[in-house]
Assembly symmetry: C2
Homo-oligomer: 236 residues x 2
């Protein structure tokens, strides 16, 4: 299979990094420290579950442009209430909120990206704000060539302009760029702007009891179970 | 000396990379191949000399927004005429124009950046377009955490908004960000927006016969002769 792909842009949360187990891992330390018995897998999914609704409020104009850090913080306040986690100082809340800057990569991610980077330009294309993505890359050793974020346009994916922006900033044609994501809707939105779709299945994104739809569209150019398989299939 | 600096943003052309000797080095190959006897040091300075006037035309609205790649190409056409270099194919011109994507770092640059990156977030803040900066980083091994470019705003430095953009995308306060540049005017424009100034002297930017003004303002927070000295002075 011959590809003219020159650059890969990556969805990040769930595709490159594993927020579910990272939040559990940090959460268990909070349980110990605070004497809580909180189910942090449930917290992870509740927190992440508020991600889309908050971005939708921004996109409907009910909120002004707001960085994802600040949306995460607004969602965190609701989650703290829901799980009856009380008594955190402002500093503790801020540290907890920045767990999104410390997310750990899936086990295959750094090795796969390192291979892919030899052959392709690699960029994020994430709703995370730039500083979040930069911190995460430094913390977890993600070898990006550059950081593209919805923040650059102040509109959230799947707004068509986010995919167009990546193509334009790379000085490429849309068909020379592949979005890599674990989420079909993101891939379909990218395809609608002419990008190729690379679907990487992440069955454990929401934990072992909430397996997502892993069905690949026949129009996806590549389907892989991890970034090493993606590198194999792309000849990297 | 105590610094609260968290991120360094870098001017690139002349500060990080040495366009003068890179253009001479590639130019000597053109001379051989074409039987020319062109003085490529003079070409480098003539080409670079058209950089500011072309950007000024964009900023005055006489040209629409134009990526630096395209401004370089317009300037190249003039330089080819001036130096009577004729007969290049479109493909050859395009390859020559992309020498700006292949600029080599000053000898201290990669080592200094690698040290600085352990302690600070490092970004470009350049008038080069994003794809130019990404290509250059891959080609020359420049270890950026992220790529900021005038292209993100479609206004060229020293427009104040370019410095403000870097601060905003880093989610920092202006005084936590230092611009590192070999050019006093760039540093003064950054200082006017609250950033700190790191002056790195590059006496050979224009070659051995055109030494620039190397005078440091007393308001510059750091003055250094190369990136290793900069790292020393910033405690990295």
């Amino acid at each position: 299979m011959e590809y003219k792909i020159k650059a890969l842009v990556f969805d990040v949360f769930g595709t490159v990094v594993d927020y579910y187990t990272t939040i559990i891992s940090e959460g268990e330390q909070w349980n110990q420290q605070k004497g809580w018995q909180v189910d942090w897998g449930a917290v992870a999914n509740a927190w992440r579950g508020r991600y889309r609704p908050f971005m939708d409020r921004v996109m409907r104009g009910e909120l002004p442009w707001t960085k994802l850090d600040a949306l995460h913080r607004m969602a965190l306040e609701e989650v703290l209430n829901e799980f009856q986690m009380t008594g955190l100082t402002e500093e503790e809340k801020e540290h907890l909120n920045r767990v999104w800057h410390r997310l750990r990569p899936w086990p295959d991610a750094v090795a796969g990206l390192t291979r892919l980077r030899q052959r392709f330009t690699l960029a994020t294309l994430s709703n995370g704000n730039v500083s979040l993505l930069v911190d995460m890359a430094k913390y977890s050793g993600l070898p990006w060539d550059c950081i593209f974020s919805a923040e650059l346009l102040k509109v959230y994916k799947p707004d068509p302009r986010t995919y167009q922006m990546a193509v334009e900033l790379l000085s490429l044609q849309a068909h020379e760029v592949m979005l890599v994501a674990a989420h079909q809707a993101d891939l379909r939105a990218a395809q609608a702007q002419g990008l190729r779709a690379g679907f990487v299945r992440r069955p454990l994104e929401f934990g072992p009891h909430n397996i997502p739809d892993l069905t690949a569209d026949s129009t996806f150019a590549v389907v892989a179970d991890d970034f090493n398989e993606l590198a194999d299939k792309l000849g990297a």
